[in-house]
Amino acid sequence: MNLADHLPALQVIVPLMTAPLVILLRNGFLAWLGALLASLASFGLAILLTVAVLGAGVPEYAMGGWQPPFGISLNVDGLSALMLLLVTGASTLGLAGGRLSLRRDIDNRRAPMFYGAWLIALAGLCGIAVAGDAFNVFVFMEISSLATYILIAAGRDRRALSAVFKYLIIGTIGATFYLIGVGFIYMMTGTLNFADMALRLADVIETRPIIIAAGFITIGLALKAAVFPLHIWLPRAYTYAPNAVTVFIAACSTKVAIYVLLRFNYGVFHGNLLAHSDLFTVFIIPLALSGILLASAIAIYQGNIKKMLAFSSVAQIGYIALAAGLATHAGLMAAQLHMFNHALAKGTLFLCVLAFVLTTGSASFSNLAGIGRRMPWTMAAFVIAGLSLVGVPGTAGFVSKWYLIVAVMGMPGWGVPLVMAIILSSLLAVVYLWRFVELAYYGQPPDGDVSRMEVPLPLRTLIWSAALANIYFGLVPQLPLALAESGTTTLLGGLLP
């Protein structure tokens, strides 16, 4: 076997095995450097895997040499590659841009532990994205969750602790529900491998345990994905986490839960459970819609930029859930594209917030008044990413909004009201972003000081590269489109037109 065949395994073990080395270091800078290098390597591996997926495809990888369903397999398709790019990209962005900010938040003595946890979280998320086995997903979900709790608890505000405790309880309930669902499926099929499950479920369709399993898995993962109204843990966790951590987790951690939801509901249940797509649609669409509208409305009333963006995330998860709930080819395309584009926009926005907080020391609106005149470069990047979040043409956000609207229009009888809801929510997004932009450009700084104070050039370059990526993928969306197309094909397995 040559190295290329090992790519799926390396994607997980590179960050995973670097973590124990990092915690043994005694120096915060070296630990950061080690984590950054491992994260960059993972990003490189994700790019290689993406190229392979778009080329000849990635062969199934049998862990330990045991063929599935007896051993654990790793499977990489377009959707996995999309997730891997998001996860590793967000981690690299957070680490590279977060050096200065993290140095303030985490004291040198505890830094190796922190960066070790970061790498384990990264490895856990990558592990979920490549796993072909339902129980293995549970294991890696717990790895990434436990590590994420540590990252959030590192926030300097004591409210980070109360937020993370709530997250721990809800996250564990979600993971346990998922495990119960997997147990019910195992009870009726005798297997844990996704592909094998889909095959064997055909014999036991519509039995009570399978319907219960679908319920437990959907609710458990909706808790993890913070689908409205199961989102209560998210805003506080995002707000009080260290800024660099927010860049990382806001861009990808909830999306990984949605990824598993898609794998199960389409890869496994769909086509087996006869009424499944109707049930799933009826369950998820009302929740998604209320999330889109209410969370956007709540975002308007926030006085803290991080909290505002966190509520905006809940709304955006609503878009993804809405698109996924349509159970059509176009809907799945839109869901995947929006995962990618939202991660891009939110990652950039939180990176800008990190820069603001780095210079002003706080994320509250009152403190950030006039920041646009003091930090014009960063603020311009913020505006670009904000436009992408709203979905203005020319940005990445427009592409996925467009796909979403086309998908929604395809729903007989529902099209127009759903489009209205999407447009209304986009307007709400304009309102909450404008509130901040207005304050940033026209507000009076708290101490009346309007002198320039930008963050160092390397960080500014990073912020601008991220912002330009939002425009690039708006003008040249071929890459996410191709990945989403490939992902949709495997998810539906040719079941739907």
Partner: protein
């Protein structure tokens, strides 16, 4: 007989709900962690019940004994992993509770929430 064969699953459902109820209604954070442990233990019982085969023994091959019937090793393996995950969550949760007590001076959820609202 058939009904008694489902008794384990009923206990699973009841324990799960006792755990969930305590998680929702109890304010004390240590109590929440204990409730989480009950909640997870219920799932362990669920899986291990699945693994049992009538007339079977624990899946350890004894030399010189032919035609043994074994209970299913796979759910047992899964639960070994899940138990470890459970204790890890407990340990981390407890560490957070200790830190919360140091910062807030209380481990009652409603009191912490009230203090968060003030600040």
């Amino acid at each position: 007989m058939k009904l008694l064969g489902l008794f384990n699953y009923w206990v699973f459902a009841v324990l799960l709900m006792i755990g969930l109820y305590a998680l929702i209604s109890k304010q004390n954070l240590v109590k929440k962690i204990m409730a989480l442990a009950i909640f997870q233990s219920a799932v362990f019982l669920f899986f291990i019940t699945m693994s049992r085969v009538d007339e079977g023994t624990a899946p350890i091959i004894q030399a010189g004994v032919a035609n043994q019937i074994f209970s299913n090793p796979l759910p047992q393996v899964l639960i070994l992993t899940a138990i470890v995950v459970g204790i890890s969550t407990t340990a981390l949760g407890l560490a957070i509770v200790v830190r919360l007590h140091e910062e807030y001076g209380t481990v009652e959820d409603n009191e912490i929430l009230a203090m968060d609202r003030e600040s």
